[in-house]
Subunit: 300 residues, 2 copies
C-alpha cells in the first residue's frame, strides 16, 4: 500500500525551506540564516537519499541550534502550543462525549491535533481553525479529507491489544493525544499505554515536559525514544525504547515525521495517524495535502 519512504529529490528544496523558516522563528538574522543554509549546503553532498527525511531534519536542527547558540529554538512556540491545546481540552472532551461513535471522534481529534505543526508553518490562526473544525455539528472531518482511513482495522486491533505504544509528535498536539488515550482507557481501563516523546529538543516535537504539562501521565507511562530525530528513526533510538517498540501489541504513530521514519520499516503493526503535509508524502500514500489520514501498516 505504501512505498518505502526515503528522502526524495523533491525533499531537498523543502529542507532548505525548513531551515529558513526555523531560523526565522528562532530569531536569526539574515547573515546567521545564510550561514546555516551554507552549512547545510556543504554537508548535503555527503547525505544519501536513502536516509529518511527525519534523519536529515535532525542534522539541520543541530546546525540551527549551533548557530543560534540555543538548544531549544522552539521553546516559546511549544509553550504556546501547549497552552492552545490545554485551552481546548474541555471542548475536545465534550465533542467526544456528544459523539455517537466516541472512539472515532477521539481518533479524529488526535489527528486534528496534528495541524498544530502545520499551523505554525503556514501562519494559520490555530485557535480559530481548531474551533472551526470542532464547531461542525454532524461530522468532525469531511469524508473527502479521509481518503485513507482504516478505522475498522484500528478498532479491531485496539480491542485485542493489551500494550499500546503511542508515538508522540508535536507539543500541544499532546493534549489531543490525551483525549484519545483517555477514550481508550475509558473503553478498557486495563490497557497499558506507553507514550514516547523525543529525548532532546528538535523542532517543536513534544518532550517529557510537554507530555507532563498536557497531563499525559494521568493515563499513560511516558518514555523517551532516546533520540533527537523529529521522527522515530529506530537506528537512533534507545534500547529501552526499542524493547517497548518490539513488544507492544499495537503502535499508534502520530505525525508525518514518524510516518517518514517508520513507513519503510515493515515489521510492526503500526497505525499512522497524521495530516498529510507535503506533496511527496501525498503522492506516496495516494492522498492530498491536508488529508486526515489513518493508515494501517499490517507489518507483513
Amino acid at each position: 500500500m505504501v512505498n518505502i519512504m526515503k528522502t526524495y529529490l523533491d525533499c531537498i528544496p523543502c529542507f532548505f525551506r525548513q531551515v529558513i523558516d526555523a531560523g526565522r522563528m528562532a530569531g536569526l538574522d539574515d547573515k546567521q540564516q545564510k550561514k546555516v543554509v551554507d552549512k547545510f549546503a556543504s554537508i548535503l553532498p555527503e547525505l544519501s537519499l536513502d536516509m529518511s527525511p527525519p534523519e536529515i531534519a535532525r542534522l539541520t536542527n543541530k546546525l540551527l541550534q549551533k548557530t543560534a547558540k540555543s538548544k531549544d529554538l522552539y521553546a516559546k512556540i511549544k509553550q504556546k502550543s501547549n497552552q492552545i491545546g490545554l485551552r481546548m481540552y474541555e471542548k475536545l472532551k465534550q465533542k467526544v462525549e456528544a459523539s455517537k461513535d466516541q472512539l472515532l471522534a477521539a481518533v479524529e481529534i488526535a489527528i486534528i491535533g496534528n495541524i498544530i505543526d502545520y499551523g505554525a508553518k503556514n501562519h494559520l490562526d490555530l485557535d480559530k481553525e481548531l474551533d472551526r473544525m470542532l464547531r461542525k455539528e454532524k461530522q468532525l472531518i469531511k469524508k473527502e479529507k479521509k481518503r485513507i482511513f482504516n478505522y475498522k482495522q484500528f478498532k479491531e486491533q485496539l480491542s485485542r491489544a493489551k500494550t499500546i505504544l503511542y508515538l508522540a509528535d508535536n507539543a500541544g498536539e499532546t493534549v489531543f493525544d490525551r483525549v484519545l488515550i483517555e477514550q481508550i482507557k475509558r473503553i478498557d481501563p486495563n490497557k497499558i499505554i506507553i507514550y514516547a516523546v523525543k529525548d532532546k529538543p528538535v523542532i517543536n516535537d513534544a518532550l517529557l515536559e510537554d507530555a507532563l504539562i498536557c497531563g499525559i501521565d494521568k493515563q499513560a507511562e511516558i518514555i523517551s525514544s532516546g533520540s533527537d530525530a523529529p521522527g522515530t528513526v529506530l537506528a537512533l533510538c534507545s534500547k529501552k525504547f526499542l524493547d517497548v517498540y518490539n513488544k507492544a501489541d499495537m503502535i499508534i504513530s502520530k505525525g508525518q515525521g514518524n510516518f517518514e521514519a517508520l513507513a519503510a520499516v515493515n515489521k510492526r503493526l503500526i497505525f499512522f495517524l497524521f495530516m498529510v503535509k507535503c506533496a511527496v508524502v501525498a503522492e506516496n500514500v495516494d492522498c492530498k495535502i491536508g488529508d486526515i489520514t489513518l493508515l494501517f501498516n499490517s507489518g507483513d
Copy 2:
C-alpha cells in the same frame, strides 16, 4: 515603488526546486540529478545574496548543461512553445483588432504570453489556458489581476519614444511580443524597435532562432544581449547591447527574470511586463502570484 531586487533567503529553496525541475525536463536520472544538486550545494556558500536571481540561475543552468552533456536542455520545450505561439498568432491578432483599445489589448496579450514559462513549470495545459483567456468577451484580464498596471504612463512614453528596446523572455512568448510590436508599428511605422534575445541557451529563454521562427524580424531588429543569464544582468551583457540599452528612449522588459535583474538598476526608463510567478517578487512589488503586471520604473 519597488524594493531592490536581490536574491532573498527564500529564493534558495526555489533554486534547488528549479534545478530539480529542469533536470527532470532534461531527462536526467535521479543519480545525475543528485549530482547537480550536490554541485550547486557545494558552490552555494560562495554565492552572495547580493547577486540577482538570474545571475545564480545562470550558474545552475551551467551545472545542468555540464551534467546532462547538452548545451540546450530546453530545445524541445522551446520548439513546442514556438509552435503553440504560432498556432495562436491569428487568434491573437483578431483579438487585438476586435478590441476598443487595441494597444491595451496588445500589451495584455504580450503579458499573457509570459505564462508560457509558468505553464511549463506547473503542467498547465497551455493551449487550453491561453484559449480560455482569449475567449473572454469583454476584458482580456480581470481587473483584480492587474494590481499594478501603469498603462497610462506606458502609452504616454510610447507616444514620445523613437527608439524602443524590447527585452525578450521565453521562446513562444516571442509570438505574443510580435503582436505588441506590430501594434506599436501600426500606430507609428517610424518607431525603431530593437528586440534583444539571450546569447546562448539558458532555460527556455528565447534565442535568435526563436525570434526568427516567430517572425519578429519582420518588424524589429534582433540583437543579442551578449549574455547567457536568464535575465538582463547588465554586468554580463555585451558592449553592443549596452549601447542600445543606454540610448533607447524606452525599454520594454518582459518576464520576471528581466525584472529581477533590472529592478535594482534604477537609471533607465523601463516598463516591466510580466506575470508574477513567485512569493518573493509578489511581496517585493506588493502583488499576488499570477498577477499580470505592467510596472513603470521611472529611472529617477
